[in-house]
């Protein structure tokens, strides 16, 4: 069958929830999609989302409202999210749920057969739709199925096991294509596209051990950052309070555990101390993630009350009926048993906070266009919707919603945008050749460093200086150390010279991108002299961390005057350093107010 050349061609990089929904929207609008992914799209990281997806369904007699969801999200994000964008998302949420239901997502149901709802952090109403404890997996699968249907109709061409390397701009500076590499045959190829959408997920691997999949390395975002795309709010990294610590990865224990009644505690003076309930009486165990993580960190690190003196606290479900737990949380309890060897239905789980999600990402407008014409970003890799802290179960929502916005906008741009000249065959070949040369050079690296060891060191650095508590001394040190790592990258030695599935060479290329991304995160944190959401900065006095009369650390306050602004990071080609500026955003609908989860929220 001859291809219809008049059809618009959209390249979508990443086959998680956002990328797949964008794909469906493009197909429905009559376009064709080239879909690039590290893996079969059915194995994308969206499937690790466990607890649920927020939408005001109001089916529990609690008088929930879309406005309440809106306000919870903005308040939870410590007033750093674009409010017009958030409003669009929460209004669309119930419609998205009904669409997923029609697509066959096996949501957990009530005895009446309607969708059940559960509690989640930072929200006082039952608002979270869920499919047991594998909601992301179920939503991803439904979208994977719909995209497979479009694939059989010829509208989608999948490039699975292809790595996105960089975009190609025409002479007017408009993105008109990309270069990608086949991860099995190592073939490097250029592709034309009318619009390119990045939906490549978060940068968790920059921190080494995290709750993210091994493929979530932020490499694609860093690649376009080096080509002129702006990164926004990178310093806002979500640390999830409840993960199972592990040397290969920290495995997530869903917030749904607390949503279904789980309690967090440690022993204090020989008695269980339910510290979240004591510190935050209004929200208790269901405070937002940044708040819970800081409390757990304080109890373990500063008060020394962790289990057996280690960095662990209990997450306790053992008081809840085991049949109920099986129905609501089955999947993850099985995972805990499997990896830890203890049954959480009988004994409390042992958990500690872990890097989990990036609120920041590529700067986009409300239609998900980046500052580079023709290039869009969608899903966790963009910075929209969550401000300084994301509420649990809002990530599946933003992933899905962003796809429904970016897909149609990509088609609009393809039809009406000021796209300038078509890429010539010579331009395509030049871009391919450049990437080929870079890759060939990596294959000849014969220094003394091992890329995986460098990666490990980078993770340790980032956890030490840019995690739950930050201060300007540490951040300055971290920037210097990252620069050294970048230098040491040049001295990597490759042992694998194969032309089949050379994972080592690909990792070396990704690692360089990750270091540059780490520098953007650290610089963003260094320049933001306040505490807001996930970014908590300790005051320095005479070059030392300041303590108050009770010996408690003193943190900077929120500074709306100076910092109720979006951090914008640009890449300096000459020095390879991140350059930070600030940009205003729309916060016209809800007036900023102090954020305090010890008391009930006031509007």
């Amino acid at each position: 069958m001859a291809k219809d050349m008049s059809k618009k061609k959209i390249a979508i990089v990443g086959g998680g929830i956002s990328g797949l929904l964008a794909t469906i929207k493009v197909c429905e609008a009559g376009g064709e999609v080239d879909l690039f992914s590290y893996c079969p799209v059915k194995r994308s990281h969206s499937l690790c989302a466990q607890g649920g997806i927020n939408a005001c369904m109001d089916t529990k007699g609690e008088h929930d409202s879309i406005y309440e969801h809106f306000d919870d999200t903005v308040y939870g994000g410590d007033f750093l999210a674009d409010q017009i964008a958030v409003k669009g998302m929460v209004e669309a949420a119930p419609k998205l749920i009904k669409m997923f239901d029609r697509m066959g997502v096996p949501f957990t149901r009530t005895s009446e057969g309607v969708l059940d709802l559960r509690n989640f952090g930072g929200q006082k109403h039952k608002r979270t739709c869920f499919a047991g404890s594998t909601t992301g997996q179920q939503i991803l699968y439904a979208l994977d199925e719909q995209v497979r249907r479009w694939e059989t109709k010829g509208a989608v061409t999948k490039y699975e096991f292809w790595e996105f390397i960089r975009i190609i701009k025409n002479k007017e500076g408009v993105c008109r294509g990309l270069v990608a590499q086949n991860m099995n045959t190592m073939e490097i190829r250029s592709f034309r596209a009318d619009t390119v959408i990045l939906a490549t997920g978060g940068p968790g691997q920059v921190f080494g051990r995290c709750t993210a999949s091994t493929i979530c390395n932020g490499s694609a975002v860093s690649a376009v950052y080096q080509q002129g795309a702006e990164i926004a709010n990178p310093e806002f990294i979500q640390i999830h309070p409840t993960a199972i610590p592990g040397s290969d990865k920290n495995r997530l224990m869903s917030e749904a555990c607390r949503g279904e009644g789980g309690r967090v505690w440690v022993y204090k003076d020989g008695q269980p101390w339910y510290f979240l309930e004591e510190m935050y009486p209004a929200y208790g165990n269901l405070v937002p993630r940044d708040v819970a993580s800081r409390a757990i960190y304080k109890v373990c690190v500063h008060m020394g009350l962790g289990i057996n003196g280690e960095n662990r606290v209990y997450l306790d479900l053992s008081h809840i009926d085991s049949g109920y737990l099986e129905r609501k949380l089955g999947g993850i309890l099985e995972m805990y048993s499997e990896f830890v060897g203890q049954d959480p239905r009988k004994v409390p789980m042992e958990i500690f906070p872990s890097v989990h999600y990036s609120m920041g990402g590529i700067w986009v407008d409300r239609k998900h266009n980046t500052n580079i014409p023709g290039l869009m970003a969608s899903g966790e890799c963009d910075y929209q919707y969550h401000g300084a802290n994301r509420l649990g179960a809002n990530s599946l929502l933003s992933a899905a919603y962003s796809g429904t916005v970016s897909g149609p906008e990509a088609m609009r741009w393809a039809k009406e945008g000021n796209r300038g000249s078509e890429l010539t065959d010579e331009e395509l070949e030049a871009a391919r050749r450049e990437v080929q040369n870079e890759y060939d050079k990596i294959l000849t690296m014969n220094g003394s460093e091992n890329a995986h060891k460098l990666h490990h060191e980078m993770g340790d650095l980032m956890y030490k200086y840019v995690a739950i508590e930050r201060d300007n001394n540490g951040l300055d040190t971290c920037l210097v150390e990252l620069k050294k790592l970048l230098k040491r990258w040049d001295d990597i030695g490759i042992t694998d010279h194969s032309n089949t599935a050379n994972q080592e060479a690909m990792f070396v290329r990704q690692l360089r991108n990750m270091i540059l991304y780490a520098m953007a995160i650290t610089k963003g944190a260094r320049m933001r002299d306040e505490s807001r959401g996930a970014h908590a900065k300790i005051v320095l006095e005479n070059g030392k961390q300041k303590h108050d009369e009770d010996g408690e650390l003193v943190f900077m306050g929120r500074d709306d005057e100076r910092f109720m602004k979006v951090t914008i990071v640009n890449y300096d080609e000459k020095t390879e350093d991140p350059i930070v500026t600030y940009r205003d955003f729309d916060h016209s609908l809800i007036k900023p107010r102090a954020r305090n989860y010890a008391v009930a929220k006031k509007e």
Binding site: G113, Q138, S498
Partner: protein
Amino acid sequence: MAEKKVRFIIERQDGPNEKPYNQEFDVDYRPGLNVVAALMEIQKNPVTVDGKKVAPVTWECNCLEKVCGACMMVINGVARQACCALVDEIQQPIHLQPARTFPVIRDLLIDRSVMFESLKKIMGWIELDGSWEVKDAPIQNPYTAQTAYEISHCMTCGCCPQSDFIGPAPTVQAYLFNLHPLGKFDAPKRLNALMEKGGITSCGNSQNCVEVCPKSIKLTTYLAQLNRDVNKQALRNIFNK
């Protein structure tokens, strides 16, 4: 004190058409160590027990939580996910092999695209009119929904054997879509597809699949029910001719 080591015997293969060979590696023991974590350690220091510096072992993994299905390989003779194969729970030395029920790309990396092609054959989707709003989705029997939830855990890992039969995993997905209030509209199409060569009649009912399924999906139960549905459909086809 000498550090405790774990010995791995890994069946390697340099490319799709190359001959397989074994290499042995020692990895430092630590509590909770799993096979993927051990392979990551080998990446950091790819040296065999004979002191030979070699290319790191190639394999596929993503989530490390037993949800994505990527890291399936044959461990001590059994096909399973490597991320949840805890060293403490399996016999040492640990033998790793690629799952040769699929074409091998390199080392432990295999090509499972045939499984995703099978999902096309059984029309594994709901025929949605579009992703736009129509009206409320139909109410569903919560018990049926629970069955659907169980089957929908299938992560297309390929532990269940995929012979000339399109395989238990994709076949049972047909049952999943036939359960859905909208999906059942196209049940006859899916059942007819399963009548074709390599369809459900090729199932030898060996019960192997249900034993190896890492998600404990009752594959044989649903295959049996599906077989009944296919027979009924075959009769309907005769009478409606």
